[in-house]
Amino acid sequence: MSIVIIGTFGAMMIGAAIFALYSQNILSAIISSGVISLLASIIYILLAAPDVAMTEAAIGSGLTTVVFLLALRRIQVIQAEKGGAAKAGKSASGLGYGLGSGDGSAEEAIDD
């Protein structure tokens, strides 16, 4: 019986993983990857490993999801500011997006 439940949760995990990969909406991809960890923690409880289940639920589905969401918000802020700079007539040239855009000022310096 328990093997059936574990198999069902495992199949749901695979489904959530595929959804996270192919979802166009980053927000739902992040939530879906949190769901993977939540299902994994349920499986750990069924396998009588409460310590690991707690870690998985707290870190995997809690903290990691929050960190991803914060990173997403930062990226959106950076993109909005780059868009604003381009509108202001500056040659932001839309090169590096993402978190590693600390070199944005260097690019602009070269452009100038």
Binding site: P50, D51, A53, M54, T55, A58, I59, G62, L63, V66, V67, L70, A71, R74, V77, A80, E81, G84, A85, A88, K90, L99, S101, G102, G104, S105, E108
Partner: protein, 254 residues
């Protein structure tokens, strides 16, 4: 298209490579000799009711120290990268994206809008309970499931609630770094103490084992796990605080 084809071929080849291993898997009928030794001697030797904790903190204590170190390096990396990002961009932003930036700076008091009544009150209600729960988890790591890492994450999530509820809330980085480095220092110091007073590095028997199953038992395990909990909690709080800072708030700081 052709790239996708090659990807599928590669995955199939990997599957073919691992397939023979699948036939060798036999369900474990009995525990490995080391596991048997831990399970039989653990409670008597170390006095911890939660066998998992006695393995994590004492028998495999060095691995846990490694994990804590990995987390520390990751936290330091996040702090370093994001901090530099802000400082590099701020001067450049000031003379380029003036229009967007100024509005953000002007309305900094209102701009990241205040949390709603529901979120604010709920977080204020939950914050002390969550903090207490985190402390409970890592102090009772030798009795119940959980321990330093789990308790630390719960503490960090309670701090996250505080950050969500109060936009103007700022972490006191002095206290955070003080707690973080002191708990790390004492963790290693207790480990070395075990080397001197007991059988080896991170041995918990530097303190009396006490009565099995009570809070003050299992030697140094509760102390070590409390230190790990404080360290993990402050580190993760710091990560969340570093990632939370927006430009407007950064501007407000300066």
């Amino acid at each position: 298209m052709i790239k996708k084809f090659f990807t599928i071929i590669t995955v199939l080849l990997f599957a073919l490579m691992v397939l023979p291993l699948l036939r060798q898997i036999v369900p474990f009928e009995e525990l490995a000799p080391v596991a048997v030794a831990y399970a039989e001697q653990g409670p008597d030797q170390l006095g911890a009711a939660n066998l998992v904790t006695s393995v994590i903190v004492t028998y495999r204590g060095l691995d846990t120290l490694g994990e804590v170190t990995v987390l520390f390096i990751a936290t330091a990396g996040v702090g370093f990268l994001l901090r530099r990002d802000e400082e590099d961009q701020l001067p450049g932003e000031k003379n380029t994206g003036e229009s967007t930036f100024e509005t953000a700076g002007e309305s900094a008091l209102h701009s990241p809008r205040e949390a709603s009544e529901l979120l604010g009150s709920g977080s204020m209600l939950l914050f002390p309970l969550l903090m207490l729960f985190g402390v409970y988890i890592f102090m009772h790591g030798h009795l119940t499931p959980g321990g330093g890492f789990q308790g630390g994450v719960v503490i960090a999530s309670s701090m996250l609630l505080l950050m969500l509820a109060r936009v103007s809330f700022h972490l006191n980085h002095l206290i955070i770094s003080l707690v973080e480095s002191l708990s790390g220092f004492f963790y290693v110091a207790i480990g070395v103490l075990g080397l001197v007073l007991a059988a080896g590095f991170l041995d918990n028997r530097i303190l009396p084992l006490g009565e099995f199953g009570t809070l003050f038992s299992a030697g140094a395990i509760p102390i070590i796990y409390s230190l790990v909990g404080l360290k993990v909690g402050t580190e993760l709080t710091n990560v969340l605080g570093t990632m939370r800072l927006t430009r407007a708030q950064q501007e407000e700081d300066v």
